[in-house]
Symmetry: C2
Subunit: 406 residues, 2 copies
């Protein structure tokens, strides 16, 4: 009997926690099954509003109205309109975010523009040494094309690495591998104190925790929309350019969509005012309008409530793992301190690839990141405490098997 | 009676031409109504295969399989797989085209890579003086970021403008305003003779006429997919990099999707081999798979048959306009010679904006381009000769009204 005492206790607690969860009703706004889906930090689940909207966008807006939808259907203004829907989720006033292109392309725009806005003579870009690789590759290209040097630095050491040479600092708000939340207010202030611009990648934080772009004076930011914003596979990314920097935003990708008069068809480029200056080519309407529909789940939800549940979920999951998994079989690389934790738990273990494969076969979907990391993302809008308990329980079973086998 | 003789004659001829049109059955593969849709050179019509495919992509692939679709559903390899579907339409062998990003972003990749492939010391980019504006803005940025000078030259004068300084030449295969088809084989050969690379924008030719990229030794090419390829609003563009240049293709946007080992999550960039080197960030799956479904209409269709019908359609339309519209009211800026004509007819007239507005009200949809151009695009897969006759007839009526009013 003693062997089942643990599970029963945590299952019972999960039930109670789910019963008082103020976001619990949101789960019904997503298409979900009995799977415990802890991969929303890679691809968010489908919101029930999306299929009908897409049928309308394809069948009526494209199929029947065709070209008229560019004006009558609001296609043309979708990048800035949807940017304004994302704005409150990242603490930005309207008019500073534009949706379009991939995160990598937006990192390029933001970094090149940051270097061009920096004081004359600053020729170094500091980048988070543990950055998501694509940001690093693009930063290298931005440095090469602006005559800068790229300097990788661990986020905690960034303040000491800044100098009069630093033009811009590119940081990830949450580390994609460990789930560590970096100190956006402090590091932004440090960059500013050194006279550099702060560029943040919000891929793993937007929609999971408060960002406070305006409040903390962030200069430029980018993020994807297919993780905690549930925009769909490869849905367009976004670019934030702080209001007072927009007139100096000098894009390396000045497409016709960012022209002051896009249909004037002028041969000389004259940049538009405002966030639309971050646009490039024709916006990808199907993906963009799927995202717009997906963002409706945020009606009546505050990021603060999401953050509170996220921390409760990851706390509870870590507690269950601690209770179910024999010591030494996994090691959490996600910080225990709330102020350093994003919305995912990353556990290192031997044979992580095989472990994740078996977890998925048993209906607990997380993902594996090279070389030995199991990632479990907790999307508070549709993941509950019973999911967290079950994930930990199945993880313990799978580790038992894999351990026994070896 | 003599006043109706003309219309009756052309209506009868249209009927006969439609009856023997070998592509006529293709029209049933599109969602169309009684509108004469001559704006497929801006946004292609919806193919009937697309709504069902999108419902599956959204509901099942995203909604049910979620993250598994990246591997099991073929999402990850979509950019190169769909590139290979476009390849035969532009005369390219497989493995040279990758789909993704906007045309503008691809122009940037292609031009910067071209300059980097050019001989040391070449520091000039020649661009079509009448280019679609976005290509010109992006070319200016590519020049600025590679230390080159941008030199706008009329396509016909390009051969004489080339020199030992020319690194690359960016040209539009068909002029977006006039519908003029430029001499791709001749201008490519001229660029090569001068030691420069030839980069072509195929937006207004791919899917409407033979391009022959491989045959004519084009170096790099880009194009959109929402015009004659009917991919949907803002569907992703494509990039062609000739086989033997791929190893030297040095992208200014080296995102993780172009890494030799994208899931290795390495901090050092190592480019993949082949066309995938042109990829950047996470591909936009909804739009990309809509395009894939739309490309099914090309089954059993040759570009040569499309070209023959396109020329017959534009010839017939010009003949009807000539017959119906009193001399002097409109002036065609589309070349009469077949070898200089794309798949659109551009007519200049006074009050073009008002004229197009009235045409659209009467069910003849073309578009207006600043300052005085009426554009009529002929998509041979779904436009027939009766459409061409009706468009000319309604145009004559509208010009009568507008003329009488002024």
């Amino acid at each position: 009997m003693s062997e089942t005492t643990g599970p029963t206790e945590y299952e019972a607690r999960a039930k109670k926690l789910d019963a008082v969860d103020e976001l619990a009703a949101k789960r019904a706004e997503f298409v979900l099954d009995e799977t415990v889906y802890l991969d929303g930090n890679s691809l968010g689940a489908l919101s029930v509003a999306v299929p009908g909207r897409m049928a309308d966008v394809v069948g009526r807006q494209w199929g029947e109205l065709r070209i008229r939808s560019w004006t009558e259907g609001g296609w043309w203004t979708a990048p800035e309109r949807i940017g304004d829907l994302i704005a409150p989720l990242v603490g930005a006033a309207p008019g500073q975010i534009v949706v379009g292109d991939s995160t990598s392309v937006n990192v390029f725009k933001a970094l090149v523009a940051a270097v061009r806005m920096a004081e004359e003579g600053r020729d170094e870009i500091v980048v988070d040494a543990g950055t998501f690789p694509s940001d690093g590759y693009i930063a290298e290209s931005a440095a090469r094309m602006t005559g800068c040097t790229l300097r990788p630095v661990e986020p905690a050491e960034v303040p000491g690495a800044l100098s009069g040479r630093t033009a811009a600092v590119l940081l990830n708000h949450v580390d994609y591998r460990t789930g560590r939340l970096h100190d956006l207010p402090g590091l932004t202030a440090a960059a500013h104190a050194a006279g550099a611009l702060a560029v943040w990648d919000l891929c793993h934080s937007a929609g999971a925790l408060p960002v406070g772009l305006d409040e903390h004076g962030v200069d430029l930011a980018v993020g994807c929309t297919y993780k905690y914003l549930n925009g769909g596979p490869g849905s367009p990314a976004y670019l934030y350019v702080r209001h007072d920097l927009q007139d100096r935003f000098d894009s390396p990708l000045p497409g016709w969509n960012s022209h002051a008069e896009p249909f004037g068809m002028r041969s000389a480029y004259e940049p538009a005012s405002g966030a639309v200056r971050g646009r490039v080519g024709t916006p990808d309407i199907l993906s963009m309008l799927a995202l717009e529909a997906a963002l409706e789940v945020w009606d009546g939800v505050t990021v603060e409530a999401v953050r509170a549940k996220s921390l409760a979920l990851t706390d509870f999951f870590l507690e269950c793992v601690d209770a179910y998994v024999p010591e030494g079989r996994v090691r959490s690389v996600t910080p225990e301190a709330h102020e350093e934790r994003g919305s995912q738990v990353a556990l290192r273990c031997d044979g992580a690839g095989e472990v994740m494969k078996r977890l998925i076969e048993r209906g607990v979907v997380g993902d594996f990141r090279h070389p030995d990391v199991l990632r479990f993302g907790f999307t508070p809008l549709y993941v509950g405490f019973a999911d967290a308990e079950r994930a930990a329980r199945v993880l313990a079973e799978v580790l038992d098997e894999v351990h026994a086998r070896s």
